[in-house]
Each structure stands twice: as C-alpha cells, then as structure tokens.
C-alpha cells in the first residue's frame, strides 16, 4: 500500500458525506446503497464513522460529472478515467467525482459503482495507489464478483487511523506471491498449450512479459467462475477445460463459458453421494482417460465413452506410489503427470509408475 505523500488525514473521526447529484444509470436507492456500502468497508476497519447529510457542505462531497468540471482535471469520455478523488482536507479535499460518461451498474457489467466508490474513498481518506493487484487501491479497474478490502488495504488505512474498536478485527484476502516458497495451489490445468495455476481469486501463468509470472483475477478470463476452485482439467480433443468446486463443475472453451453449466458431479460422472468435492483432476491426452483424485482414492473416467471405468475407486498409493495420499492439483505435460501436494511437486511417469523428480510447487515461475 502507499500513503498519499505528506500523509494527509482527517483529524476528526466522525465524517459527513453528501451525494450532490445522481447518475441516471441507476435508481437513487441503488446509488445510495452502493455509496453506503463503500463507506462501510472503511468504517469496519477503522475508528472512522460516516454520516450522510442531504444539504450543505459535507466533508466528502460525491458527484457525477463529465469532461471539464472546474477542477482542472477534466474527464475523458467513456472508458479511460472512471473517477477521481481528492486527499483529505477542506473544500475540495476528500471529494469524489464519478465520470458520468461511464455506465454505472450494480453487477459485474462495467462499471460497478460500489467497486469504484470503494477505491475512490480510499483516496478521500489518505491512501494512494497500491501495487498489489489484489488490493482495492490498485489503479486499474478490476471486478472479481465480490468487493472487499484486501489485507493490503486494511494495513494501509490502519497505518493512518489505527484499527476499529471492533472486537473481532476483519482480515482481508492476501494476494499470492508467485515466488513465495510456501506457495500452494488450489488447481492447475493446461489451457491450449499453456499451464494455468489457480489460487483463491487468482490465476498465475508463466509468460515472457513478466519477470516472474503473470498473476491476475480469474474473472479476467471467466467472470462467472467462482473463486477458490478445487480442481480443473483440459480435454484437449474437445478443446474444453472443466473447473470444479464442491459438487458443481463448469466447462469453458477458450474464454467462453459453455451453456448449461454448472452441472452436478454426481449425475454427470456417476460419483457416489459420499463424494462432496474433487481434490484434483487430470485427463491423459493420449488415452482420453481422466483421473479424479478424492482424499486418498481416485476414479478413472473415459472421456470417449463418457462413463466411469469399472473397478474404481482405487487407492492413490497403489497406482501412484510415492506421491502420498492426497493431491491438491495435477496436470499433464508431454505425457508426464505433475502432482502437487502442499509446496511439493512430483513429476510422475504414468507408464513406469515412477516419480522422476521432486520440485518446489512454484518451480514453473522464473523465481
């Protein structure tokens, strides 16, 4: 996080705000609610309180304006700049301006007013932009379904105002660090020749553009997928990738969600009701056999017959000796299976049923 240079802050904890005008894109009630929720995010983690007033000068004035609006910081029409805000202080200090040339929404469509307001209020309270892509105070617009303060945002605002009196201190999600030696994964799959690693709300992948690896929100590619995926695998001959969470799964083709999902793993694959979720899955491209790993057992499914093979489940330890009794994630590359459990990664040859190498989980990133 970054504090605004000069460390401007509000000296009083009780602040007022006023919504000077309303966008026609949403009902007044929706605007009031979005702004109220945005203030609530910050008051939950600080001693600050925010009271809405309907007339006169408030500490934080919020308005919807377009192009040149007499503050020497003209907006630029649709896209580009969405909003801006001023650091704590009198007059224009703390004020928030939303660009009326944008479409303001209350869902995942561009641009979610709650999400943008939450960011701008960070500036109104004394925060500058954060380099943490998972933080609300990151400069570029990201909407990953839920709007919440990341731990980075909480650390920043509490550096200015201290913590709230709240007995149970809210904590926020941490953004994975691709070169953290303790990094573990929720799911991993190949996608059209690339390898994508999933953790919480994020994907990671090695690309030539980034020094270590690219990390971004899963919603950048698949806005309707849930966070915290548990398994994923690619069926190359159908050009499909399947994602699993709980007893549901989704299928995508490239960036397109396939229709009719989510579906249920029991009715689709024939898992017994006792299976509540899948730990990991991989489909062997050559044979069309998909391996589902659940606790210390695994099932094998035939992607051509679209049915589970007989004689399963079997014990993981019997047929994949050495990789342990639990799998977090697995993918196939060049005929080898790469199994992940905690920070360990096993390169396994399914033909000889032998482990070839043992590496750190994040060995695929240029750390």
């Amino acid at each position: 996080f970054v504090l605004t240079p000069g460390n401007p802050r509000w000296e009083q904890a009780q602040l007022t705000y006023r919504i000077e005008n309303y966008t026609p894109d949403l009902s007044r009630a929706d605007v009031d609610h979005a702004i109220e929720k945005a203030f609530q995010l910050w008051s939950d983690v600080t001693p600050l309180t925010f009271t809405k007033v309907s007339e006169g000068q408030a500490d934080i004035m919020l308005s919807f304006v377009r192009r040149d609006h007499d503050d020497n910081n003209a907006f630029d029409g649709p896209g580009g700049q969405l909003a801006h805000a001023y650091q704590p202080g009198s007059g224009i200090g703390g004020d928030v301006h939303f660009d009326e040339d944008e479409r303001w929404t209350k869902d995942f469509r561009n641009y979610n007013l709650f999400r943008v307001a939450a960011h701008e209020l960070g500036h109104s309270l004394g925060l500058a932009h954060s380099t943490d892509i998972g933080a609300l105070m990151y400069p570029s617009y990201m909407f990953s379904g839920d709007v919440q303060l990341a731990q980075d945002d909480i650390n920043g605002i509490q550096a200015i105002y201290g913590a709230s009196q709240n007995p149970n201190q809210p904590v926020g999600p941490q953004t994975p660090q691709v070169c953290d030696s303790k990094l573990t994964f929720d799911a991993i799959t190949t996608v059209r020749g690339e390898i994508m690693f999933f953790k919480d709300r994020f994907y990671m992948r090695a690309t030539p553009f980034y020094p270590e690896a690219e990390l971004n929100f899963i919603s950048v590619f698949w806005p309707h997928l849930p966070n915290g995926l548990q398994a994923a695998y690619e069926v190359a001959h159908r050009d499909e990738v399947l994602f699993f969470k709980g007893n549901k799964y989704w299928a995508v083709q490239g960036q397109d969600m396939l229709p009719g999902y989510p579906k249920d793993i029991h009715s689709s694959f024939g898992f017994p009701r006792s299976v509540k979720h899948i730990d990991a899955a991989v489909s062997a491209e050559q044979t069309g056999k998909t391996y589902f790993f659940v606790a210390n057992k695994y099932w094998r499914y035939d992607e051509y017959k679209r049915s589970m093979d007989a004689g399963y489940p079997k014990k993981i330890a019997d047929d994949f000796p050495g990789i342990g009794n639990k799998v977090d994630a697995v993918f196939e590359k060049d005929g080898f299976f790469y199994f992940f459990h905690g920070t360990r990664q096993y390169k396994f040859d399914p033909k000889t049923q032998r482990i070839l190498t043992l590496q750190k989980a994040n060995s695929w990133f240029n750390c």
Binding site: A83, E120, T131
Partner: protein, 80 residues
C-alpha cells in the same frame, strides 16, 4: 505484422497521455516511439512498468500497452 504507422501513432498517443496523466510526464515532451532514446519519457515509462510489475524495458511493449488501455482511476500513480 509490423504495426501500420497509424497504429503506431495511436499507440504513441496512448503512452504519452498515460504518462502525462499518471506519471507526471511534462506535456509536450517529444513523442515516445519504439526507437526512443534515453530521456525523461523513457524514465517515466520504466517507472510505470516497475509499478505494474512488468519487465522494465523502457519500451511500450504489448503488455505495457494492454495495461495502459485498461479503464482506471484518474488519480496519478506517483506524487504530483
């Protein structure tokens, strides 16, 4: 395929505007082009690439341009 001169012109415009808006590049500095030599605008471009965790090349590569085209907050990334 090599970008047409018009595309290149537009991209230079995007880079220039972005650095002026968010990295205090003084307006009117000579245009950034792929062949730009060292200068204030290259330093600002490196500052932006550093902020976003990109490879610090000082050149407006594809990933840098992709981030510059993303909708964002109008507040600068560095102290004004």
């Amino acid at each position: 395929f090599p970008a047409t001169s018009k595309t290149q012109e537009e991209e230079e415009e995007v880079v220039q505007k972005y650095l002026e808006n968010y990295y205090n590049l003084k307006t009117g500095w000579r245009k950034i082009s792929k062949q730009t030599g060292p200068g204030q605008s290259v330093e600002k471009l490196k500052q932006m690439q550093e902020f976003f965790g990109l490879k610090v090349t000082g050149k407006p590569d594809a990933e840098t341009l992709k981030i510059m085209k993303q909708p964002r907050c109008g507040v600068p990334d560095v102290a004004n």
